[in-house]
């Protein structure tokens, strides 16, 4: 991969609970992506995927403690706190929030709201800003004249497009999209996904697509990271994740997802994810795993390289790969696993 546009290294997030306990929501998450790439961040509710991207944007509440490094086009954004993040937010890294289509103010026109981030960052104002709002709407497939319309005059799909236009207002390099198609119909979902991958291509935008929906990831992403209990447990090309999975959770998650014409039995994964406000020993997935071994109860598996651009955090890989054995049992994250 060429120089990454977004490089997240060893990101950790803790929340302090009212009870005084700490909840370790994101544990050592690292990923990087280049221009024009769409990376999927998949997992079930509570796995830390949204927290990961909110931390990347520096948008977590002050009760959250964040460690790690986020580099956008080489610049370290998080280390200086809010002051250093603010300069990059929306101009370098923008976000389409979960349910963004419902976040427009009902009493102001769409155009007015798209203009806002440009004004805030002093990039454009007046007619120039309005002109740019029209161009942005055209870019997402809405006629520029619609800028004068109010959110209630837009359908759900159009509002979602407008939310994407708003995210692109300051010409960011990175777009973080949190469940951008949840709540939309399949037909509209297909249109939005087509739009996102088109924008990634045409603008050279690095897109992180956060979703719980594996087929959506398979459809638009080249690579994906699967998260479980705050950790990335497997990361690689989507084709490898499906056909050559190296983690039981990824495999079981695919088995729980029905395909349109397949006759395979759709099986659920028994049990529930572990509580993150209590100390965990061993592998966080072992209680639901169909291949857990003794070692899984005591040692937390590290994310190790299992193939080209493919890494997984599972002791089974250590058993099968001689090279990986020591690395995995040491519990260290190898540098090559992060590439």
């Amino acid at each position: 991969m060429s120089e990454p546009i977004l490089d997240v290294r060893d990101l950790n997030v803790w929340f302090e609970l009212p009870s005084g306990r700490e909840l370790h929501a994101v544990k050592g998450v690292s990923f990087a992506l280049g221009a024009g790439e769409v990376l999927g961040l998949v997992g079930e509710s509570g796995c830390g995927k949204t927290t990961t991207i909110l931390a990347t944007m520096g948008l977590l509440p002050s009760s959250a403690e964040v460690s790690g490094e986020v580099r956008v086009d080489g610049a370290d954004t998080l280390s200086g706190g809010e002051d250093s993040v603010r300069a990059h937010r929306w101009t370098d890294v923008a976000m389409v929030f979960q349910g963004a289509m419902n976040c427009f103010s009902p009493v102001r026109t769409i155009g007015d709201q798209i203009v806002e981030p440009m004004k805030y960052h002093g990039l454009a104002k007046g007619d120039a800003a309005r002109q740019r709002a029209g161009e942005l709407l055209e870019m997402v497939g809405i006629p520029a004249s619609s800028a004068q319309r109010y959110p209630h005059e837009f359908s759900g799909g159009m509002r979602q497009r407008a939310a994407i236009a708003m995210a692109l207002a300051c010409d960011p390099k990175v777009l973080l999209a949190d469940e951008p198609t949840t709540g939309l119909d399949v037909m509209v979902q297909a249109q939005i996904l087509e739009l996102l991958s088109g924008l990634a291509q045409s603008l050279g935008l690095a897109v992180v697509l956060v979703t719980h929906d594996l087929p959506v990831v398979a459809e638009v992403c080249s690579r994906a990271a699967v998260m479980y209990a705050g950790q990335i447990i497997e990361m690689g090309a989507v084709d490898d994740l499906y056909h050559d999975s190296h983690h039981p959770y990824t495999r079981l998650l695919f088995a729980a997802t029905p395909s349109l014409l397949g006759d395979d039995v759709v099986a659920s994964i028994p049990g529930t994810p572990p509580r993150l406000d209590q100390p965990l020993t061993g592998c966080s997935f072992r209680e639901r795993c169909d291949s857990a071994m003794d070692v899984c109860a005591t040692l937390s598996p590290a994310l190790i390289t299992v193939g080209a651009q493919h890494s997984a955090a599972c002791h089974l890989n250590a058993v099968t790969s001689d090279r990986g054995t020591r690395v995995a049992l040491d519990g260290d994250v190898t540098p090559e696993a992060l590439q």
Partner: protein, 350 residues
Amino acid sequence: MTDRTPPTSRAEHDGAHRAAPVLSVRELKTQYPVHRSLVGRLLGQPKRTVHAVDGVSLQVDAGEFVALVGESGCGKTTTVMSILGAVKATEGVIEVNGTDIADVSSRDMLSIYRQMQMIYQDPYGSLDPRFRIRRTVEEPLLVHGVGSSKRDRTRLVSAALESAGLRPADLYMDRFPHELSGGQRQRVAIAAALILNPALLLADEPVSMLDVSVRASVLNLLDTLRRERNMAVVMVTHDLSTAGHFADRIVVMYLGRVVEEGPAKEVLRNAQHPYTRALLSVVPQPDPRDRSTPQTLTGETPNPIDIPTGCRFHPRCPMAQEQCRTIDPTLARPASVSISGHRVACLLAT
């Protein structure tokens, strides 16, 4: 020769000793008047109507699992709500176990509700947060006066929870909804719906709010229960993959009408209606090697106030021809289709 059987005919159904269907809906229409302001009325704005359901016929047999699919606004939820009597049907006949519910007085509706239960989409909203699980599941018994004593009812509640997969029931009885996961809550809703042993279960997107890893368990549970109890299930869903895996029959709706129906696998593998084909083409596949070539339709479903003339799908149909603008197609089995029960409302499907 094209087989243009009217939708109400049972001519295509096989089996001579067939029992009466558990649910029979004929030409159901549910309309809502559009609100006009006083000023609007004085200015003589025309009365307008939302045709949410516009002539739907549906038959469901005992033990049959039917999926009602379509995009939002196609009338699938309104159809179910009309069957349930939660929304008043404007026209048409709804029969539950042979009884026309329009003939039943509101007092006697209780006996109909005993045969027909509903599971809602949101298990976070559908359970009363202040009720212990025991009370939520017991409530139908109290409403219908089932169970002679507290002990008797507790026994029934316990059995219902266990059959919904919450075992041992004692562990769940005295807990509150907030102590349970989404999947467990939906099982509680299922237990409450099944405690009266209904003949028909209506489910509106029962798993769309649940995590992928537990969806299959809830759907497998519904599947097992309907087989064990010979219960009919009508599930509203927008997820064609799920419909294909769990339903016997798929009914595709568009703008208040059924546009295609048939055995689930047949509809998925041999879709005849251009709308069904377009829908199928945009379903994302878990295997990246099966990436679809989406036929995205332009625009969105027109609003059900001004329904297009002729075939209601023609403004978005990639194959529309002149006749489609004027002729409203009826549901029939095209000659090229050999599977009985597979019917399509399209002039071009021959």
